[in-house]
Symmetry: C2
Subunit: 325 residues, 2 copies
């Protein structure tokens, strides 16, 4: 394989000149450029991208951090972030945190070491990591962190309102809100607050349970649910994330509780698979493509050194009526 | 921020010595090493990973290519590949091909330019890309490509057999096999062949439809299904991928066709969401964690220059009885 040295010899110039020509930096006459390009073509020279990026002090990589890729919301987010990064000429590095929050610390360290140009993060930041001191491009999804770090999230407040209205207009008087602590630490807490507010305004009783982050998992659903069955006594409405809603509906139906006749269910997220449930789930849909697009646009503006006008960007949610309300 | 030069000055050695010490290459006395490490600590020096990797001629990145991350099988595969890469000290680069097969070409070019050390690919390779000529580490999942490129896949033959046995033992006499051309080009064609073979041995009529790759998509399911409704006349059994099975069951139920009473359904993949369907789907489960583990083990062996003994690795499938048979 031809090296940069071979190109320089063939073009009759120095290695530095070839490097400058390929990186588009510094002045080089058109005549020299042409000689170099001819040599590159004749020798079929492939520049070493690592070396090029080192020269530019830019890696061309942007990282995306998520908690759990098995969750369809996260998978869809990663898909759309990756697609938007590609469109903008960036490569996508993936970090799935799982049960190992240290991974975020390591990923952020990689950002500091210039392995990446920026990070889009949709996972809780462990207390050991102080993002305020990093001064490198970071965009958070669904979590407020610190001043100077943009946060993009759905209009969870409106989401809570839409869910409450759906249950209230279906005649619910005693509803259950099933939360997972992992997601509720961030801005999605707003969803519950507004949901509870609207319910209370209409004299609807509300019970909230925090089942911990494991509830978001498909596998653990059925077993965890056994723990919470007693909370469903006397309840006529349920609001929870789609995956949890699906697990609940299955369990309730096995106990002979008819949905929506005896109990109305509203999900949150708008995941595709809920269209195939019986009854089809009524749900508040997050606009994942838009969240991904804004995250990528924002991180690229930061990398390019541009000013970020809106430190908080709120993306509209929509209501999808199914058969569970 | 301290540079390698600062470390060299503080340790009283040359930059080359510091570089060799940090990269673990060449002989350096223990005394010198200790001086360097002390300087690194005192100055809180963070080596530039790009520069280090350039020195090692290794990027530390491995790419994973999938067709569509919205598909839960692909999302789970990426999750487990990423987790295994992390455990082995590699970083994960993601490429979601979508409807743009040129992306594979670009990704393979990046492999040639040493941006990555290897690629694990679970997507169809466009004819413009000749992997045989690349001579860089590539592992295929579910697709035979060319000699010298390892292929890891489920025991699709056994999967087809298990599905046929389930439908036959439930009394089916006239079954439908619903395929997507995108997946059938690879080794999963074996699944259909064996399925058909077992059905025919038992005098069970079999109809096969190729609905094209779009059928694998959650969104397009309901609309595409309208096109194929006529094929269900007189059918008493169905074998198809989980996502398609879920879409079919929903459509059939809307038309008043009772499952499993009038029609038995067996899915393929073993996706988590099918546990929440009504009736719960009977399905043949692929062992995604094991496929991911073997892919990563194999690509690392290739990167390390070790010999690959098994060019085809077959991972066991299991049968999960639901309520749809």
């Amino acid at each position: 394989m031809a090296s940069i040295r071979d190109v320089a010899i063939k073009a009759g110039v120095g290695i530095g000149t070839v490097s400058r020509a390929l990186n588009g930096s510094g002045y080089i006459s058109d005549e020299t450029k042409q000689k170099i390009m001819q040599a590159v073509e004749e020798l079929n020279y492939k520049p070493n991208e690592l070396a090029q990026n080192l020269f530019r002090n830019k890696s061309g990589f942007i990282g995306i951090v998520v908690k759990n890729l098995s969750h369809p919301f996260m998978a869809s987010l990663v898909k759309h972030v990756e697609n938007n990064l590609y469109t903008n000429g960036y490569k996508c590095m993936l970090c799935e945190v799982g049960d190992n929050p240290n991974r975020i610390e390591e990923f952020v360290e990689m950002l500091q070491r210039n392995v990446m140009d920026g990070i889009i993060c949709c996972a809780d930041i462990p207390s050991s990591v102080s993002l305020a001191e990093i001064h490198r491009p970071i965009v958070m999804i669904d979590r407020y962190v610190t001043e100077g770090i943009p946060c993009i999230h759905s209009d969870h407040k409106r989401g809570g309102e839409l869910a409450a209205q759906a249950l209230l207009s279906a005649g619910c008087k005693n509803v259950l809100y099933f939360a997972s602590s992992a997601t509720e630490r961030g801005c999605s807490m707003d969803r519950y607050r507004r949901f509870a507010e609207v319910c209370k305004q209409h004299k609807c009783k509300i019970t909230a349970i925090d089942a911990g982050s494991k509830i978001l998992n498909f596998q653990s659903g059925p077993t965890i649910w056994k723990k919470y069955i007693s909370h469903f006594d006397g309840i006529d409405g349920l609001f929870t994330a789609d995956v949890t809603a699906a697990a609940c509906m299955k369990m309730l139906q096995k106990k002979g509780i008819k949905i929506p006749k005896k109990l109305k269910v509203v999900g949150y997220d708008g995941l595709d698979f809920t269209r195939f449930l019986t009854p089809e789930l009524t749900t508040v849909c997050q606009n994942v493509p838009e969240i991904a697009k804004r995250s990528v646009d924002t991180i690229i503006r930061m990398i390019d050194g541009k000013k970020i006008e809106e430190m908080e960007q709120i993306v509209d949610v929509t209501f999808r009526k199914g058969e569970s309300t």
